[in-house]
Amino acid sequence: MNVELAILYAVGVAYLALLFFIAHATERGWVPEGIVRHPLVYALSLGVYATSWSYYGSVGFAQEQGYNFLSIYLGVTLAFALTPVILSPILRLVRDYQLTSLADLFAFRYRHQFTGLLVTVFMLVGILPYIALQIKAVTESVAVLTREAPPHLLALGFCATLSLFAILFGARHITPREKHEGLVVAIAFESAVKLIALLMVGAFALFGIMGGPQALGEWILAHPEAMEALYAPVREGSWMTLMLLAFAAGFLLPRQFHMIFVENMDPRALRVAAWAFPLFLLLLNLPIPLILWAGQAAQVGTAPDYYVLGLSVEQGYGWALFTFIGGVSAASAMMIVTTLALAAMCLNHLILPARYQNQALPRHNLYTWLLWGRRILIVLIIAMGYVFYRLMEFHQGLVQIGLISFVAVAQFLPGLAGLLFWPRATHVGFIAGLIGGITVWVLALIVPLLQQSGFIQNEFSMQALFNAEGQDRWAFSTFWSLAANSVLFVLFSLLTRPSPEEHEAALACRMEQVEPPRGQLEVQSVKHFEEQLAQTVGPQTASLEVSRALADLGLKPTETSAGELRRLRERLERNLSGLMGPLLSRMIVDDRLRVDPHTKVAIADSLRFVEEQLEHSNIRLQGLAAELDTLRRYHRQVLHELPLGVCSLTPDREIIIWNTAMSLISGIPSQQASGRRLRQLGEPWHGILRAFLRGDDRHLYKLHINIHGASRWINLHKSAIEAPGTLTPGALAGGTVILVEDLTELHSLESEVAHNDRLASIGRLAAGVAHEIGNPLTGIASLAQNLKYEQDDTEREFTAQQILEQTRRINDIVQSLVTFSHTGELPDTARTTVDLHACVDEAIQLVQLSESARERSCENLLTEGIRIWGNYQRLLQVFVNLLNNAIQASRPGDRVRVAGEPRGDFVEVQVEDEGGGIPESLLDRVFEPFFTTKPPGEGTGLGLSVVYSIIQDHGGAVYVENLPAGGARFTLRLPMEDAAPLQDAQEIMAT
């Protein structure tokens, strides 16, 4: 190796080291996230499409075929114009199902082991000429710079160095499914270098050789044949064929597929790339005619393929070195990304299935085994490229070699069309079509290559066989290979039927999967998942994969819900697909995490699955189906947005609906409750709902429950759901719907109103209280005065006794007030046995403190010994309010009577006055809050509404009527102690 060669090699290695440093810096987080994830960086990374072919070969292509060289980029532009139709659906599939290559994609859709194998082998063989092209371009570019024949050692050294960097770039991570942000940024940088280098050579050609824009214009005018040489081949040559080949290559070449889909970090970036990547290609190709004309004008002593380098040499050695770096950059980026993609394909579709079938998958350190497997494959693929380069005697230009690979890649177009648009396509059709296409490709393009290289000695020519020797070879080979492929694909697809797995995959590809899952999982817990998987992939990998899937779904290791476990299984299958390919992951999951097809899937799971699929599917419902679907969505939305808690259950107590309000009331999210059995809810809800379902009552009012230490009051209502008229298997078969009303806020408001009413009553009583306390106090004062002068012990003792008597009287008054006014000492729910007679007595004592009561009398005629189950304090408030009301309606001298007696399970209490009664028109309104007939400032209008509310709380009722003789009668109907309908939550839960 001479000094010049050593410098070039060192420069090349240094540049690759720089790329590696950029990748490393990105993955370490030294490059800002905004740059790494910028859509333009992603678009630039797709510039890996432009290899040595574009960098060097375009000028030679333009020399031979004029503007035909642009078809290779215009075809890509047309492919990217179809981003929403073709590229976005593929990206969705790749992301959703964690596919890592084109072989994975086809194996996912055309479910057969041979599919992945055939695609991988053909892709490998089809891309070898392309890899060989890169090696040829680099070695020949060295020859241009050193003006010596390149030593084979150089090619070998280039391949060895690239192998090392390919491993460093893409095979450092444990799993292939991880995104390589560093690789994306490094390839984007590499694209920028290529673009800048070519634009600089173009600028030199324009200003350094052609003499500037004006001189160029004059040169063009003086050389119309140069323009004609550019345009004429487009009119006459293989423009359309090349466009079609480039259309396919734009996203089906392994490196393109890898960068567009596998390394995509944000689907939105693809929309930017749809125009930014073609713009990059346009800029890259802008200087090509200039470089061609400048090379011709300057009579550069190289082949037109290397005019780019030859012109740079004219400019100076430094320029030439930079241009050389651009070429190394183009070749190395292509080889690195291509070998990464091919290695993943080979591992997933050649090595792993063979090991799995022989039950030879490593059970320890699977990740390390996969990592080393990929590394060895990278080295092998580059070595194969090198062998191909050495064995083949390339008599063709760079572009001609590359087009062989383009025709190979185009063979995947029919299969891809079937994948995206034709659910009827089968793996038999795909394989038959591909074999047909490959056969024509080999006969039309590879055989001539082998003949030229001396491997085949005969004179066979497929074009001669078809009597088409005069035809363009690319048009001929492309047409016949694609025709054979498409015809066989359609024919064999129609002759065979898609398997159920293929049918399912076809629906997934078209986002039309709406079939409910069938059968229940045999595994019942997360731990069981790990144990089952460990039998195939080893305990360490099984544990890590299950943990990862749990984290992806936000599930806990204690999860036991059948629906969630099914989701976990699906997730595991997808994650394993990213690790080992879709076919093997399906085989492992089917084998280890079995589904019993004879068992019934939980209805909620089926419903949720179908709804999710409908939400995300591409199915366009039409006509009545669309109307019904709109109605279904509307009803579901109504149910979910209802301000009442809704819980519907199947007859076997599986929760189907658990709406938003129910989640808020219970604190249990809908996704945790739906699909579970009632018993899995946990307390207190399991106990409350179970007791209510078992009971005969269709309504339960003011149920007090305790949730996490906080009191809540709820009403419960239930109704049976009639089974639909015609039952199909798996359809809903009736059940129960429970409505839950949260009354906690209302209850707080009622308590507040009652408290305010009590305070108002105390205010009204204040004057009477002062009077009542003032009298005994005056008596006490007089007695105390007398006591000072009293000498007789008997008299003193008598006086003291009288003082004590007066004090007790005051104490009674104060105690009554205290009892009446206290609200917070006992909760409203604190219920005890209440002696109704005593309660009325105390109420009379209280109301008689008021001034207005002095000239009216209150009589307690209630039968003694009546006891009810209730809240003493609140019942006291009822009687105080009713007596106050009666006294205020009475005239001086009138009587107010409280009477009553038991009637069956109830006690009826009447409070009557002898006043003017209530106008008939107002009788219906007296219990309304803030309704009063008194002048403003004299009544709050709350008294009777509080009475109504308290009696309702006690499960009773209150009525009002006018007496024939004048006056009004309020009748309370309260349940006796033994018949109390309200029980607290503990009692209900205990039943």
Binding site: Y67, L70, L74, T77, L78, F80, A81, L82, T83, P84, V85, I220, P224, M227, E228, L230, Y231, A232, V234, R235, W239, M240, M243, R268, R271, V272, A274, W275, P278, L279, L282, N285, L286, P289
Partner: protein, 53 residues
């Protein structure tokens, strides 16, 4: 989707139909093909931008 298909058909019409004869006719400016290409890219960007909105 409709706009995308229309755009694709426009591209096919411009670059992969007998209309190619129009912009490759003798006397055509050297940059004509690049200008047409740039117009197509501009339309792709426009459709992508409108779809995103």
């Amino acid at each position: 989707m409709d706009k995308t298909l229309l755009l694709f058909l426009f591209g096919v019409l411009l670059f992969a139909s007998p209309l190619v004869g129009w912009w490759t006719a003798p006397g055509t400016h050297v940059l004509t093909v690049y200008v047409l290409w740039a117009v197509l890219i501009g339309l792709i960007a426009l459709v992508a931008y409108r779809d995103e909105r």
